[in-house]
Amino acid sequence: MTSLTTHPAPSRPPQESPGAADRPLPRTTPRRSATVRAKNRFVLLCILPAVVLFLVFMVVPTVNVFRMSLFTWSGFSPDMTFVGLDNFVTLAGDTQFVRAFQNTVLLLVVVTIVTISLGLVLAAVMTRESIRGKAVFRFVFYIPNILSIVVIAAIFSAIYDQENGLVNGTLQALSLEGLQQVWLGDQKLVVYSIGIAMVWQSVGYYMVMYMSSMSAVPESLYEASALDGAGPVRQFFDITLPLIWQNIRTTLTFFIMSAVNLSFVLVTAMTEGGPDGSSEVLLSYMYKQAYTNSSYGYGMSIGVVIFAFSFLVSLLVSRATKREPLQF
């Protein structure tokens, strides 16, 4: 254990590329290289369990998804048939898949924009303005994030209830019966109804993330800008946003990943893709194909599409939002 603590930080760089970087060393300084090698071995051994787990549980299954997408297989039978890209050709003509894709894209775009904007505004209000009971608000906004999705589905089933739900009930109390809707039964509305539940679930989490980075912005910047006559809105766009931009970028990528998953869980718990497949999302459709339609290979080809799609969107978002990091 001593080898870990006695060596100072500067000796680290050679460790980071253990294979290539320290091989020429033995000829020049044999004694030092021996300790470096021992240390490298120790480090390698330390990361071995993590690497093994990562390979077994992440890399191998992912590679398998790609491989399986080229086969037809029911999931149980011993015979798998190689069909090349047939599954993807079928996908292109599968209207239900296209609808699921559209829903996923819609949720991804709308929910991401709404959640992130709302999270930012709420965080700015909570950090910059003096509001009574700030801690209570922060707690209340954060609660949905720790609730189980099944509980959220039950809550929203009560909110959206067409007869005595919160939304329709409020509209009735306000004599706005004309605006009452069958929130989970209208094929044009149901995706948005799910989107609202997703925003409600995640906005608190992102608010807390933004609050933490906003509170790190030095107060002096705000004071100086206030002297120059900048109001809260100007300060938000010209000081707060640019200074927490790196955080926003990270959370954007993060959110795109989690929105794909969250939409699946919420759809499964709330509508099962109904009415008549109108709220199906990519993951729920993949699940149905792979497990209930016994088309495992086809399901995996949907998995590949999801993988490629989320990867592409994350990449695009990351590229589009790239800015020179600002220091303060």
Binding site: V52, S74, T271, E272, S294
Partner: protein, 439 residues
Amino acid sequence: MKKLLLTTGVALTSLALLAGCASSGGAESGKETLEVAALEGGYGVEMYTELVAAYEKLNPDIDVVLQTSKSLEDEITPNMKAGRYPDVVVLGQGRAAGLTESLIKDEALEDLTPVLDATVPGESVTVGEKLTAGIVGGLNTNPYGTDETYLMPMFYSPTGLFYDQNLLATHGWTVPTTWDEMFALGDEAEAEGISLFTYPTSGYLDSFFFALLADVGGTDFYTDVMTYDEDVWNTPEADEVLDIATRLLSYAAPTTVGYANEQDFTKNQQSILDGKTIFMPNGTWIVNEMAEAPRTDGFEWGLTPLPAVSEGADRFITTSVESVWVPSAAKNKDAALDFVAYLYSDEAAEIFTGSDAIQPIEGLADTLEGENATFYQVYDEPGVSALLGGFASTAPVEGVDIKGTLFGSADSIISGDRTEAQWQEDISAASEKLRQAGD
């Protein structure tokens, strides 16, 4: 030395981490172990534990490991994918996960025809002799349309239109026997603010459509539809089926589609208990499922087959039959077959009946009491016969879900998002794809 210790330590840690993923082996008590997996349905678990105790008493050298769950598929599927199969599985077709169907499609079930000729353990009659005539032989026991039985019928229950006898009586209405009477009742009820029809979720329309297909076109037409006969959905019979269904859906309670989802389907069922809707397709489990729900005074469950197409025409009642099967990959097949035969013993039947689970054993239905007696009486109504089966299994077809197309579209028909013509076209296309896969 230190290095050696370190290496060993790290290696052990990684091993321990991986070992956590492996399963622990079975009990080694010298006895033969029989793994039984059963779906915890509306009948509860108690009857299975009693059954296992009774079986172990009869066969002291067999240790039965019982696994029950409401989502049995989720629990046994991972093990099955890893090659560890239960010996006996009690699980019917028509479940969302479709595990039984998957294994049928894969021809991964053991042929259970010998069980029919086997003597029931502890008795002198064979299983085949005890079973109700005609219960074995349909697509749900002989899924490949051959003489070989792969799924033994476990419990059967009539599915049909459930209603409140008291609601009809207080309004002076009678149960309609023809579709014309049905729609006339719908108009009459509408005038009083009561809807004619609802369904919990569109999936519950399966029994409705099966019976309607047979009512309209007879069992031959029904079989043609179930086996995806060419152009079967473009026949006059199919037109009539969809006409009746579309007309009935136009009488659906306005709240139906909004509640026809996983969270709210009980609210559709509740509308029957509240006296707001007259009929819904369902199964006998509804009594237990809604046992705690509030209801109108004098509420009394009733069950009727679908109305006849014309006066005095044959009517069919879709009978849901849960199945027991043995995976071909099971380890103790002999013990499994013996256990399956035991399920039809008087002793087992008594245990099951105690939980309202009725087996298709000759004469058993006559011994029933209470609501169950009323339900099983539908088979005695004139011109009514039982209808078994479901869609034939084919090789999986990517992206084609005929049940979703046939039943799920009901939501869209009610909301007006799809027309009857589009509906027919979609079903026909799905049926054709499955026919090609079956060839």
